[in-house]
């Protein structure tokens, strides 16, 4: 298709779509209305289960099956990224170079690292009580680890980041959902049925299985993000093709590579 034809086809499509969407939107119940039957039921149900964060109750209890699928998407995408960004036969891995980061920056980043990690854990832990949860906190915690790359260099990150270990944690978090579901099934209840005592509304242990699943997803997300970023960092920093893709340090700073000729 030439560019011209493509633009014509696109214009027709976009105009038609726009017309359809506008026509449909005009028939929608007005924005901000008070009619939300499912939402209302969900709120009542969550309070019945002593879960003060209704969104967590929906994610981990009422519609927990969705979250199992969501978690599988994350798991599958990470596995897919590992497969796609693997080191192929025509590539090799090189040692990353040390980078020199300005001292104030380094101090700040190292000081913030534990703060970020704790914030992440805090957000995970409060998932069923206040806004937050396994996904949000997991990402924050995983980001914290990468401050090492920012503050020091890639080698420092590599030292504390054992990809096999995080892969294991990723798989364990992913397995948590089906395992719990099947365990509950063994007792004769329904798959993923909330069989634990519901606890007191507003406390960290409230909500029955909600905190358990929340923790499983936190573990999986944190580990998955670390593994995911490891693939991208490896590609950008330590993997190069055999046919002389070098350009050590030519982009960005430090972390270039020590190719054969340029060992520092």
């Amino acid at each position: 298709m030439s560019l011209r034809v493509r633009m014509v086809v696109l214009a027709v499509g976009l105009l038609g779509l726009a017309a359809m969407l506008v026509a449909a939107f005009r028939k929608l119940p007005g924005f901000g209305g008070s009619w939300h039957p499912y939402g209302q039921r969900a709120v009542e149900t969550a309070l019945g289960r002593h879960t003060s964060n209704v969104i967590a109750s929906i994610n981990f209890d009422q519609r927990a099956f969705d979250t199992m699928g969501e978690q599988a998407i994350l798991f599958g995408a990470v596995l897919g990224t590992v497969v796609i960004l693997r080191t192929t036969r025509d590539e090799r891995r090189v040692e990353p170079e040390p980078a020199r980061v300005p001292a104030p920056l380094r101090r700040y980043a190292l000081a913030v690292l534990p703060v970020t990690l704790l914030t992440g854990l805090y957000v995970v832990a409060h998932g069923q009580v206040s806004p937050g949860g396994g996904f949000q906190g997991g990402v924050v915690a995983a980001t914290a680890l990468h401050l090492l790359y920012i503050a020091v260099d890639y080698r420092a990150l590599q030292r504390v980041r054992s990809v096999p270990l995080f892969t294991l944690a990723d798989a364990a978090g992913e397995a948590g959902y089906p395992l719990l579901g099947l365990g509950v099934l063994m007792t004769g209840a329904s798959f993923l049925e909330n069989v634990l005592p519901y606890g007191t509304l507003g406390t960290l242990s409230s909500g029955g299985t909600v905190p358990v699943l929340n923790a499983a997803i936190g573990l999986e997300v944190a580990a998955a993000v670390v593994v995911l970023l490891a693939q991208f960092l490896d590609q950008a920093i330590v993997i190069e093709s055999e046919d002389g893709e070098q350009g050590a340090g030519s982009v960005g700073d430090g972390d270039g590579r020590r190719g054969e000729g340029g060992a520092a």
């Binding site: 726009a18 929608l28 709120v43 964060n53 969104i55 929906i58 994610n59 960004l85 806004p131 991208f232």
Partner: protein, 115 residues
């Protein structure tokens, strides 16, 4: 006002499609896809909003003391955000490989798989 948020959602979807179709750089195309996805967030949350409502999170308010917005769409959007982030990662991984194998990330220069 009563359909403005929906219109914004529609606009984002159309804009994202436009960006995807006219993209000259696959990384830019991935970004445009993220805009398309943003439209789904906006639509879902706009559907669940309730004027004067607050989030159904009862850590600092008493249940029943204030009207609340629809939590179901929020749970859906949460799932959607996760899907978006992972999809971005996977597509970027593929773009990286395309650049390695084709030496370009311009869709106009990818001349395989025709006919």
């Amino acid at each position: 006002m009563s359909i403005l948020p929906y219109l914004v959602a529609g606009w984002l979807f159309l804009a994202g499609c436009y960006g995807l179709a006219t993209s000259r750089n696959l990384i830019h195309a991935v970004g445009s896809l993220a805009v398309c996805q943003a439209s789904t967030y906006v639509l879902l949350l706009a559907v669940g909003y309730r004027r004067g409502g607050t989030a159904p999170v009862f850590s600092d308010i008493r249940p029943g003391s204030r009207p609340v917005v629809d939590p179901v769409v929020q749970a859906l959007t949460l799932t959607d955000v996760v899907v978006g982030a992972t999809l971005t990662a996977l597509l970027l991984a593929l773009v990286v490989q395309v650049s390695k194998r084709h030496g370009t990330v311009d869709p106009d220069e990818l001349r395989e798989l025709r006919g």
